[in-house]
């Protein structure tokens, strides 16, 4: 249940820094409604944990540089705008190939580092695939009537298939929030399962749109149901909701991932998206993953940032690490 041998070979030959696929895929399981019903998430306690974590873990100097580079390797560099063009996507892909200036990477002995993926709308897949040819960097496509997910079901399934056919290796689907809000877990499970099937060998990330689910308990339940239905990743948000990735939502989702792993032995990935734009925040996220899930999840096959402006801040911090002087954004190439 892994991606094609060709992909693996390609990944390993060109991108030693990015062990893209090493885990058996989550095959899913039967919907266990008892488990879903038992889930608890105490908001205040979760917020306290998230508030104290950044004060409990501090990463400095060389460690900070290494952690920031790790964050870069986990970025799904994203453009999801109505005015995207093929040229604009090309520029983004160039940045994905060389996310940090070559001399900086050379100084840190980290040449060859790329972002985890590039994430675009369906229409931009061919341009992205062309621009990333030979790099091993996968193209991820948002799908299923992103961001609202309210187009006809058969069209949403078809959209996945067409995106996979166009060369997307990862599909970011949006769930029907109404299934969560009405408590129709069976429907959510069936929908997710259908999306997973439509993806074939492409990895599927389930976007929960946590900002629209009403409670952390619902986030936990939706996370479990999507994993039971075979999601390879669970992802917070589309970036289009008023509230996107937050630490409390993250904690709830990764604890669900941990429970699922303890129960099934399958590791599901996690992708916070939207609202993470500072290098310091990225380190906090990585620390939370390290604390709650463990080091194995600190690899791009199990962890991604959905972000567009984060990379710029990380580049400035890396400049500072190397030179001791604070950097200016215009000195780094835009993406």
């Amino acid at each position: 249940m892994t991606r094609s041998a060709l992909d693996i070979a390609e990944t390993q030959s060109t991108q030693a820094q990015l062990p893209q696929v090493t885990e058996p895929r989550n095959p899913g399981m039967v919907l266990d409604l008892d488990w879903v019903a038992r889930v608890q998430a105490n908001t205040s306690a979760i917020e306290r944990r998230c508030a104290s974590l950044p004060a409990r873990r501090s990463v400095k100097k060389a460690h900070q540089a290494a952690w920031l580079l790790k964050a870069v390797s986990c970025i799904d560099l994203t453009t999801l705008s109505g005015d995207d063009t093929e040229m604009r996507v090309g520029r983004l892909c160039a940045k994905a190939r060389q996310p940090v200036r070559a001399e900086v990477l050379k100084a840190l002995d980290m040449e060859g580092l790329s972002t985890g993926a590039v994430c675009v709308y369906h229409e931009m897949i061919p341009a992205a695939v062309r621009a990333l040819q030979g790099t091993g960097i996968p193209v991820a496509a948002v799908s299923t009537g992103f961001p609202a997910g309210l187009s006809p079901f058969h069209l949403r399934v078809q959209e996945i298939k067409e995106s996979v056919a166009a060369g997307a290796k990862e599909i970011d689907i949006v769930i029907s929030r109404r299934h969560v809000l009405t408590g129709d877990w069976q429907q959510l499970y069936d929908e997710m399962k259908a999306f997973r099937e439509a993806c074939g060998d492409a990895h599927v990330k389930a976007i929960l749109a946590t900002g629209e689910l009403g409670s952390l308990r619902n986030v936990a339940r939706a996370s479990l149901v999507c994993m039971m239905a075979g999601a390879d990743f669970i992802k917070t948000s589309t970036g289009k909701e008023s509230v996107n990735a937050t630490l409390p939502v993250t904690l709830v989702m990764i604890r669900a991932i941990r429970s699922y792993f303890e129960r099934t032995g399958y590791r599901v990935g996690y992708k916070p998206a939207g609202g993470i734009s500072k290098a310091k925040d990225a380190i906090t996220y990585l620390a939370l993953i390290k604390e709650e899930l463990g080091d194995r999840w600190l690899q791009p096959d199990l962890f991604r940032f959905g972000a567009s402006s984060l990379l710029g801040d990380i580049e400035r911090q890396l400049d500072h690490h190397l030179t001791g002087a604070y950097a200016a954004g215009y000195r780094n190439p835009m993406g």
Binding site: S44, E47, R49, D109
Partner: protein
């Protein structure tokens, strides 16, 4: 390691806090410190070393205070006190505010110094200890400001001797000094010998704030210095520390008139119900028992897990423990720092190594090669009968057992000598709010733990001590009711001849458990009227009668669960029935006491019953404004079983004045009636019998107070003893009260005007209640 290596391992590395400024401060003081007395440091003298427990290095040399030092400190505090009190609330508020601001300005210096001296992780001193200390000064600046308007009938106690422990050196100093100063007291404080440095830095702050000389005095040294302070001419002792020392202080101050607050040990239960957010409850334990290396009096050190989730919970907990980082306290990425001293480390090690029960897990995490460290430890499968379930370890050691039902959880939780704090995890608000009031504790945290704030009182029951620190409830520990002193006059019994006034014998008995019963000893004494005629015989109660009364009072525990409305109705009914026999009581009082005050006393007693009937459903708790999304409910709970030696004068009014506030608040009482005039009380139980008061709620004994005082004071089943006896038994009672550290309220040979306003009111209600702060964070 290269960046590339770290990229693979994703280690945290170290993030050491710079301690240069703290060392510079020590060196500026010559690395040797004297005491801070009358606004200046004394010369450093013979003393002891203060060490960094993380590496054993000597930080500074401190001075062991002599008797002369303590006397000088007390003297300077005594001289400064009247002027400090006369400064007025606003004047004192300005100083407290200045101290709060200075603590903020120097917050990092305080944090680093605290961590160097105590071994706690810098995260804790920086994010918890020091900000909370600041908060206490801000909060009490406000209390000083409001004292004149909000506490018009109260005044400062005078000089307070304060002894604080080593686990939260500056924070405990703040808890003690801020309210004392706010209310117009001056202080002599002794920090713990292991951790005196932040107190000495605080002395610098007092100077910078321009605090008048003598208002704050700090003397350093070991327990011998503490004993000197306890014995000194101070008006109050506030102590935080071990139960054993607290008990000694209670005995040493017995009968001296020094007021006392004791915040002592604990073995606080941490209860996890099967519907809890288990991951969050596991994380809560990190804050409960691995906070400050478990050297926390209110540490959630006794884990109680509901059976269906026990194994799952333990598994999650062990995994979490293995993620804890133990190491240099100055490292910002460390969860667990150093144990305060090798002596404490040995205590912990010995206690754990002697245990042969249960299954032990110690965190599979790197331990520092040297220094004073102990690994986070969990011992599951223990039972209440195991030593480690009962003894306070005061280290990072969690012991665990299971329970089946909510009521069993309460039973196991309360099966402890201690009663400081408790934690309850459940997503069911019905369950959580049902359990919280049933736990024997001064603080209950729901779905969280170790939450503190200056606005919410903190303190315990049982062997965890008495008194509250923080909140409005904490102020009574640093104030007294302004009143004129009047010496207590003994009231001798009437002498007489054998001839009865009424030849038809009415045999007065004791009233225990709703029944008239003969005294166990089988003796009675003759009671004479003022005119010398025989009024009747009153039984002589002894030890076993006290025992029987306590048993009856315990059997009547349902009274504490009744509504205020019901208790009000019964008190009104009692007043009604007393009124119906008013003339008879008036005559009896006149016969016994002489004079014609009987009618007036009966009317006063009826009015008093009305007063407490009125209060029964109105002595409300508070919802404290603590800085969380949630509330801290200060609930007023009955103390439990109260033994009271009633005044000898005004035999009816005195009895009612003790009984009514106690039962109005839901307590059960054992009243030892007026010693010279007991027959009023034995008449009164007939009124009780007709007034729907459940059996055992009120029990009446007669005979000499001195025969029952010590028995009551040492009885483990009595939760508080009051004495208004005409015989000054204060010393015996306070000494005996040390046995289970029960609350005592004694007259110290000072008379009280029972007919006047000081015969009733909030002072009585406060004595009849415990304030339990229940923290309820909320949010979905």
């Amino acid at each position: 390691m290269t960046v590339k290596d770290i990229f693979e391992t994703m280690d945290y590395g170290t993030a050491p806090e710079n301690a240069a400024d703290a060392f510079a401060w020590i060196v500026d003081h010559g690395s040797r410190f004297g005491h801070f007395i009358n606004g200046a440091f004394t010369d450093a003298e013979q003393g002891f070393d203060s060490k960094n427990p993380a590496n054993g290095e000597i930080l500074a040399t401190l001075t062991q205070a002599t008797q002369a030092d303590v006397d000088a400190a007390v003297d300077s505090a005594r001289k400064a006190q009247p002027k400090w009190a006369a400064l007025g609330g606003h004047g004192r508020a300005r100083y407290l505010y200045a101290i709060a601001r200075l603590l903020q300005k120097h917050s990092r210096l305080f944090a680093v110094l605290e961590t160097l001296d105590n071994g706690k992780p810098i995260r804790e001193s920086r994010d918890i200890d020091i900000p909370l200390a600041q908060r206490h000064f801000y909060y009490h600046a406000g209390m000083a400001q409001l004292m004149d308007s909000e506490l018009p009938d109260r005044e400062a106690l005078g000089v307070c001797g304060q002894i604080v422990p080593w686990n939260f050196p500056l924070l405990m100093l703040a808890w003690k000094i801020a309210p004392a100063l706010a209310m117009g007291n001056t202080v002599v404080l002794k920090p713990a010998e292991y951790t005196s440095l932040t107190a000495l830095l605080f002395a610098d702050i007092c100077t910078q704030a321009g605090l008048p000389k003598g208002v704050v005095n700090i003397v350093t040294g070991d327990g011998a210095v503490g004993e000197m302070i306890v014995a000194a001419d101070v008006d109050k002792i506030a102590f935080t520390g071990s139960t054993a020392v607290g008990r000694r202080i209670r005995e040493a101050t017995a009968g001296t008139g020094k007021t006392l607050t004791l915040e002592l040990g604990g073995k606080s239960p941490y209860i996890v119900f099967d519907d809890a957010d288990l991951d969050s409850a596991v994380e809560g334990l990190v804050d409960a028992i691995w906070f400050n290396q478990g050297q926390v009096c209110c540490a959630g050190s006794r884990l109680l897990v509901q059976e269906p989730v026990a194994e799952e919970f333990y598994t999650k907990l062990r995994a979490r423990m293995d993620k804890l980082r133990i190491g240099s306290p100055l490292d910002k990425s460390v969860d667990v720092g150093a144990i305060v001293d090798p002596v404490q480390l040995k205590t912990i090690t010995d206690l754990v190594s002697r245990n042969t029960q249960g299954v032990m897990h110690q965190a599979a995490t790197d331990m520092p090669a040297e220094g004073c460290f102990y690994p986070p430890t969990l011992i599951t499968g223990l039972h209440p009968a195991d030593t480690l379930m009962q003894e306070e370890i005061f280290g990072p050691v969690l012991v665990a057992t299971t329970f089946r039902t909510p009521s069993e959880a309460v039973e196991v939780a309360n099966n402890s000598r201690y009663g400081l704090a408790a934690t309850v995890w459940s997503e069911n608000i019905n369950l959580a709010l049902d359990i919280a009031p049933k736990l024997a504790a001064g603080v209950v945290w729901i779905n969280g733990t170790n939450m503190f704030d200056a606005a919410a009182g903190f303190g315990g029951v049982r062997d965890s001590g008495f008194g509250r620190e923080g909140g409005w409830e904490g102020l009574s520990a640093y104030t007294k009711i302004s009143s004129k002193y009047k010496a207590l006059k003994p009231v001798p019994p009437n002498a007489g001849e054998g001839a009865p006034a009424d030849p038809l014998d009415r045999t007065a008995k004791l009233y225990i458990g709703g029944k008239q019963s003969r005294p166990d000893g089988g003796y009675s004494q003759a009671i004479f009227n003022k005119n010398g005629s025989l009024a009747g015989h009153a039984p002589l109660a002894g030890r076993k009668d006290v025992r029987n009364a306590v048993e009856a009072a315990h059997a009547a525990k349902a009274w504490s669960k009744t509504t205020g409305h019901l208790r009000a109705q019964i008190l009104y009914y009692l007043a009604e029935n007393l009124s119906a026999r008013g003339t008879e009581f008036a005559n009896r009082i006149n016969d016994l006491q002489g004079g014609k005050q009987g009618e007036k006393e009966v009317q006063a007693a009826i009015s008093r019953l009305f007063t407490y009937a009125a209060w029964a459903d109105k002595y409300d708790g508070q919802a404290h404004g603590v800085p969380i999304r949630g509330v801290a409910l200060a609930m007023k709970e009955p103390v439990g079983v109260i033994g009271a030696l009633c005044p000898d004068v005004t035999p009816l009014l005195g009895l009612v004045s003790c009984m009514a506030p106690a039962i109005a608040m839901g307590n059960r009482v054992i009243l030892s009636a007026s010693e010279p005039f007991p027959l009023v009380a034995t008449d009164f139980y007939q009124v009780l019998e007709t007034s729907d008061i459940p059996s055992g709620v009120v029990n009446i004994l007669t005979g000499p107070h001195s025969d029952v005082a010590t028995t009551m004071a040492t009885h483990m089943g009595i939760d508080a003893v009051w004495s208004f006896s005409g015989t000054d038994l204060s010393r015996d009672i306070e000494k005996g009260a040390a046995s289970n550290l029960k609350r005592s309220w004694v007259n110290h040979a000072v008379a009280r005007d029972w007919m006047g306003p000081e015969g009733e009111g909030k002072q009585f209600l406060e004595a009849a209640t415990e304030v339990k702060n229940i923290w309820i964070p909320y949010g979905e």
